[in-house]
């Protein structure tokens, strides 16, 4: 087995440090929110994982487009890796959101644009796996998977905006004002928030890279067996 590339090892360590730092800041540095209490601290990882999930969805479609243009399998490995990692981040976002919503909204679930769009994204990811598992050759898996990823990423914003026409109760943390975006957070909260965002972005890159390496090893292994 080829050695793990040094860049990946560095990224492994960085993402571990990043997540630990973010966790430390959230637990010991940020103030307890005045009305919501300690449960508000879910927010930092919740937003960060929703962000990572959305990012990986876009990455999967972009890599799919890359495959359709170049027909190189490395793009397909990237696309598949992004989807697999994205499913996990999406799940974390949904579950952590539920934990927060139960005491604050007094319900586990509401049919709000963000919640519904995230859930639909998970269902699309699920359909993507079922599609791939029903195809016999790696070529067909790559080609049809890429088409599905590209078409579905185009529909997700439509879903979001069509639900947004209804009124939403989801809190808007980053509010648009006349002088640009403003944050409804104290400075200490901001530090923890951006640390979490950065940590989860590094973690996403790290996981996708690891999964990509696995896909590549698997493909070369299958070639050698034949």
């Amino acid at each position: 087995m080829p050695k793990k590339p040094p860049g990946l090892i560095i990224l492994d360590i960085l993402s571990l440090i990043g997540v630990l730092c973010a966790l430390g800041l959230i637990l010991f540095f940020t103030p307890v929110e005045a009305t919501m209490g300690p449960v508000q601290k879910v927010f930092y990882f919740h937003v960060a994982s929703a962000w990572a999930g959305m990012l990986s969805f876009i990455l999967a479609a972009a890599a799919g487009a890359g495959y359709l243009i170049t027909r190189r399998f490395s793009w397909d490995w990237l696309s598949l890796s992004a989807v697999e990692v994205g499913v996990i981040f999406g799940l974390i976002a949904i579950l952590s959101g539920m934990i927060w919503a139960r005491p604050i909204w007094n319900t586990w679930w509401v049919w709000d644009p963000r919640l519904t769009t995230t859930a639909i994204m998970e269902l699309i990811f699920g359909a993507y796996f079922i599609l791939r598992s029903g195809l016999n050759t790696p070529e067909a898996r790559a080609r049809l998977g890429a088409v599905y990823a590209v078409v579905s990423v185009a529909t997700v914003p439509l879903t979001f905006f069509s639900i947004r026409f209804f009124r939403t109760i989801h809190p808007v943390v980053i509010a648009g004002t006349s002088s640009g975006a403003a944050f409804n957070m104290s400075p200490r909260m901001l530090v923890a928030f951006f640390t979490s965002l950065a940590a989860f972005t590094i973690l996403l890159a790290d996981l996708v890279w690891n999964r990509f390496r696995l896909a590549k090893l698997k493909a070369t292994n299958q070639q050698e067996m034949q």
């Binding site: 699309i124 599609l131 088409v147 529909t155 439509l158 905006f161 069509s162 026409f165």
Partner: protein, 227 residues
């Protein structure tokens, strides 16, 4: 013959072939129609609907039964081509593949719209409320158009898998959600007696779906069917 005329001729020939097959076999539209009526019956008893249905419920029921019926038609339309290698014959023809997509998707549109046009008066009878009007028909055509162009593309995807046509609803429904939301909301507006212009946003969204999914079909149909 100019290339554009030739392109249109290919589309027309495919639609004509599908219409002729449907006329002789009568296995698509009647099945879809009976199925959509059965969905109405199932929902009627499952949800214990009253005869004077509210606009919101009526719009929802209408679109759910149409979406289910469309899936049946889409599956049949593409699996027909798989029988005795008809698809290979189509693909060997020296014509643009996007013309094949247009042809298949338009014939699907035709059949599903036909089902809708029979469903609307029957629906009006059942729920004692005439829902047959021009605004609603316009919304139905726009919604069915978007569903069938996206569905034709995805049926070509799903037919290549081992599970064949079972997969289509799983691929289609999460992507068709914006169509469903916009169509239901626009229909609800019209059914509760408001002017069509009140639902302008929803109709624009439906139009956007029509354009987007037709463009997606044009772009990817060739890629999906290449061997």
């Amino acid at each position: 013959m100019s290339p554009i005329l030739r392109y249109l001729r290919v589309i027309w020939q495919i639609i004509r072939k599908d219409i002729r097959l449907e006329w002789r076999g009568r296995q698509g539209v009647p099945v879809m129609l009976v199925f959509s009526l059965l969905v109405v019956f199932l929902f009627n008893f499952a949800l214990q609907l009253s005869p004077d249905l509210q606009a919101g419920l009526a719009a929802g029921l209408l679109w759910v039964s149409l979406a289910f019926a469309a899936t049946l038609g889409l599956n049949r339309s593409i699996s027909l081509e798989r029988e005795s290698g008809a698809l290979d014959g189509l693909l060997l023809a020296p014509v643009d593949r996007s013309a094949i997509f247009f042809g298949k998707s338009l014939s699907n549109f035709l059949f599903t719209s036909l089902v809708a046009l029979v469903l609307l008066p029957v629906f009006s009878l059942f729920y004692g409320n005439n829902i047959l009007n021009l605004s609603l028909i316009l919304i139905v055509l726009l919604g069915v158009g978007a569903t069938t162009s996206l569905g034709t593309l995805l049926a070509a995807l799903s037919i290549q898998t081992r599970t064949r046509d079972v997969l289509l609803p799983v691929l289609l429904y999460p992507l068709a959600l914006p169509i469903l939301i916009a169509a239901v909301e626009a229909s609800r507006g019209v059914l509760s007696g408001r002017a069509l212009s009140d639902s302008r946003n929803w109709i624009l969204l439906l139009l956007a779906c029509d354009v987007l999914f037709t463009a997606a079909g044009l772009m990817f149909f060739e890629t999906i069917l290449e061997e």
